[in-house]
């Protein structure tokens, strides 16, 4: 089906090493110089249930997993039932013969073979990797090297179990797969790792967080690297503490980021508005999962867009941008850190579970990241925190200083003292609003706010990680189209979008109420021909999506 893609699917219970098997498989492909896209599908539980990891690899850029596997390995009946149709035409189905039998697949008694080892069924992932290795004609030695590199404990047992599985399946595999080598080895990272590393590269000093899927791994990643990079990484008592601490840190001149999902961001909204009026540089990562409320914690959706664009009472400037890929996420988090510092206003890096927790090989040039910088005050006499300036930006100063620095949650005068005076209230509104004009000008000149892929054919719009799904669908379906992806959503880059006003467009997004399409209509004056939307928590599969696109083109 997908000739230039090889896909490995491994399914089983949480706690059986399914995800790990996915990432080890990814490492195998990386070793061969290939590009990789890994998507992990897991339930909101710690052990049991049904998880799967699906890893697609190719020599070319690949921006989605495929739900048609070349080899699918399943540890239990549930997994088998779930995935028996997720097979490519010539795909091979491997199942746990301790639980089922199916003449169309190959049975391996994963469970009984694991019994004699201490780790027992926890080793299933290793077994899956052994099967993959055999299928790809990897030598056992190479397999052992990988196990040694990727696992920290129980190496010996792992190798024994892998050997037994390898030897058992090897003869049963009639047509093995010839996976061609690619060009170079690339690092692989998840979206959340990219966001974390990007922010570090951009100058991050402090991160405040409270665990919430799918943003938690930013907290974990940064906590891991805190001492290496001299960061303060704090797990606070709540999201409200998080954002108010962050504003305190921002006051001192720390470059600061916080991260959460919709429910946590909902709690941060008052603080977000505080950042607006105090003009606090502050970057919020908002990684979406299906809502409302607790919703479906470990799945994906794009239904917090409208909320992100307008969260917070009162009028204030916000920057909202959404990366389309893991690589984008890396550069964007540094770029946003810079913008919030330069424009002294809160910003949101809006993303989704699908980007946050999927892993991709990336070609990044770390030297190209932006280093966040402030418009610092050199005026050390008669300093005014909220100086009226023609561009609305008041140069910033941090303590310790012999000048008075007051950030104020109330409406205030230029010094930051509370005011109730009509004229000053108006003027401060005007000042803050002026930053919007300045920012728009800056964005027009300096920032790639919208990306356009392809140069002919009908117009498709998408944003965030859905862009990756569309790109892959266009490739797969051999569809000639132009794909427009606004990275920046607020301020809305109308100057880039206006030119598309005369053509009816197709929108692909993940929200029932078509939030992105509404934004394009309302702010961009775009005529929508058709919206393809998905809101079942699962990302698009490129094959399905290509068909849907063809239907409406």
């Amino acid at each position: 089906m997908v000739k230039d893609v090889f896909t490995f699917l491994v399914g089983g219970k949480a706690g059986e090493g399914v995800k790990k098997a996915g990432s080890v498989a990814a490492q195998i492909f990386i070793e061969k110089g290939l590009k990789v896209f890994q998507m992990d599908d897991y339930m909101s539980l710690i052990r049991g249930g049904h998880n799967f990891s699906i890893v697609s690899t190719a020599k070319r850029d690949i921006s989605s997993h495929y739900m048609k596997a070349n080899i699918s390995i399943n540890s239990d009946k549930r997994s088998y039932d779930r995935h028996k149709n997720h097979l490519d035409k010539d795909g091979i189905l491997v199942y746990n013969s301790d639980e089922i039998s199916d003449s169309n697949g190959i049975g391996i008694p994963f469970t009984s073979m694991s019994k004699k080892f201490k780790m027992g069924t926890l080793m299933f992932g290793i077994g899956a990797i052994a099967v993959l290795a055999a299928y790809l004609k990897f030598s056992k030695e190479k397999l052992f090297d990988i196990i040694k590199k990727e696992f920290s404990k129980g190496i010996e047992d792992n190798i024994k179990y892998a050997t037994e599985i390898y030897d058992l399946i090897d003869p049963k595999l009639k047509n093995k797969y010839e996976l061609e080598d690619g060009d170079i080895k690339r690092p692989i990272m998840t979206g959340n790792q990219a966001i974390s590393f990007g922010a570090i590269a951009g100058g991050l000093n402090t991160y405040f967080g409270y665990p919430m899927t799918p943003a938690s791994t930013i907290l974990h990643t940064l906590a891991d690297y805190a001492s290496e990079f001299g960061l303060a990484v704090v797990h606070a008592e709540s999201e409200i503490a998080v954002i108010n601490m962050a504003i305190g840190a921002s006051f001192t001149g720390a470059k600061v980021m916080v991260g959460t999902s919709g429910g946590g961001f909902a709690l941060m909204v008052e603080g977000f508005s505080l950042a607006g009026i105090t003009e606090a540089p502050l970057l919020v990562v908002l990684s979406m999962r299906p809502g409302p409320a607790t919703g479906v914690p470990t799945y994906t959706e794009q239904a917090d867009l409208k909320f992100a664009l307008s969260a917070g009472h009162g009028d204030f400037l916000r920057i909202v941008a959404s990366p389309a890929s893991v690589k984008d996420a890396f550069y964007l988090s540094a770029e946003l850190l810079d913008l919030v510092c330069k424009f002294q206003t809160p910003g949101i890096l809006l993303t989704e579970k699908h980007l946050s927790e999927s892993a991709m090989t990336v070609d990044v040039n770390i030297n190209n990241t932006i280093w966040a910088e402030y418009n610092l005050s050199d005026d050390i006499e008669d300093y005014k925190r909220y100086l009226f300036t023609s561009d609305g930006i008041s140069p910033i100063l941090f303590p310790p200083s012999d000048q008075l620095i007051k950030w104020n949650s109330y409406e205030h005068d230029e010094f930051g003292f509370t005011t109730e005076k009509a004229e000053i209230i108006s003027k401060m509104h005007d000042k803050r609003h002026m930053k919007l004009k300045t920012l728009e000008k800056y964005m027009k000149e300096k920032i790639k706010t919208v990306k356009i892929y392809g140069d002919k054919g009908p117009l498709i719009f998408s944003y965030g990680s859905t862009t990756m799904s569309v790109l892959e669908a266009l490739y797969y379906g051999d569809i000639k189209a132009r794909l427009v992806q606004p990275t920046y959503l607020s301020p809305f880059p109308y100057w880039e979008i206006e030119r598309f006003q005369d053509e009816p467009i197709i929108v692909v997004e993940m929200s029932k109420s078509e939030q992105f399409a509404n934004l394009l209509k309302g702010q961009g004056g775009i005529t929508i021909k058709k919206v393809i939307s998905k809101y079942d928590g699962r990302p698009f599969d490129p094959i399905d999506l290509s068909e849907k696109i063809k239907e409406v083109l």
Binding site: F197, G248, A249, F251, T252
Partner: protein
């Protein structure tokens, strides 16, 4: 504006005779004393919640953040964590710090965050016209409890002691020199210092309601048990330092003697390290 002026010159909008004036004065007197001890004025950062108490933000010529109702104590923690060289004081009200912001107050104590919290205890949500607060005695007829409130008040010193604060005192805005001295001690203290200040809100309570009840601890407790005892057994108008001890502070446990801002790692070094991390992953 120059930080070394004494006053901000901002119009004071507290009621005539408000207990907040005493706190304002005490802080103004404490600052030179702190300067004598080597704590520079420009090193001090204040935060304030929202309420009458918080107006002190406009009257004190100190750097800082006028935060959200109840969230000032979280903001203070962020200040300290980002730049531990700064001395942080939070001015909070009883509604602010024991109601809306209750959890932040308790967690700041739990962490033994190295900062000072001054709780303006006036038994009302003064600025919003006198509703009962978590510290108000049962029976208060405020506009939200016209028949009289019926919640038992919290004992703030007891809660803060149990949560983990290491310096705990009660003062009275009518006892200026005690208040001044206590503020100095609290700011000097390494760890979470908490000062409850009995602060008459004259629009709702007369000074005479307090005057005769005020007393001082005869002996300051010397350990946790004594502190617990004194806080529980002495009445709520007993002034003094109830607890003063030492425990590791949060920021030092987080990163030792590092300073995330002053010792921020350069761009070059960051990129170099990141390259290594990415290479190693291969």
């Amino acid at each position: 504006m120059d930080l070394h002026k004494t006053d901000t010159g901002i119009e004071n909008t507290w009621c005539l005779g408000c207990g907040n004036f005493g706190i304002l004065q005490a802080v103004k007197k404490a600052i030179p004393k702190l300067e004598e001890k080597g704590i520079k004025r420009n090193q001090i950062v204040m935060t304030a919640g929202i309420g009458c108490h918080a107006k002190i933000f406009d009257y004190l010529n100190l750097n800082g953040v006028y935060g959200l109702h109840g969230r000032d104590i979280a903001t203070s923690q962020g200040v300290k964590i980002a730049n531990p060289d700064l001395k942080v004081i939070t001015f909070s009200g009883d509604g602010n710090g024991m109601g809306e912001g209750f959890a932040h107050t308790m967690f700041a104590a739990k962490r033994n965050m190295d900062l000072t919290m001054v709780l303006h205890h006036n038994d009302v949500y003064a600025l919003t016209t006198g509703q009962f607060t978590p510290l108000t005695e049962k029976g208060w007829k405020g506009p939200s409890t016209p028949q009289g409130s019926f919640e038992e008040p919290f004992n703030p010193l007891l809660l803060i002691l149990i949560a983990g604060a290491t310096f705990i005192a009660r003062c009275y805005s009518g006892e200026l020199s005690h208040l001044t001295d206590t503020i100095v001690k609290a700011i000097e203290h390494k760890g979470f210092s908490f000062i409850e200040v009995i602060q008459p809100a004259v629009s709702y309570h007369a000074w005479t309601e307090y005057k005769d009840k005020i007393e001082f601890l005869d002996k300051e407790p010397s350990d946790f048990e004594e502190a617990l005892n004194a806080i529980r057994k002495r009445h709520k108008f007993t002034l003094g330092t109830f607890y003063n001890s030492n425990k590791p502070v949060y920021h030092e446990q987080l990163y030792g003697d590092h300073n995330p801002i002053k010792k921020s790692i350069s761009r070059e070094l960051r990129l170099q390290k990141l390259k290594k991390i990415l290479d190693n992953a291969l």
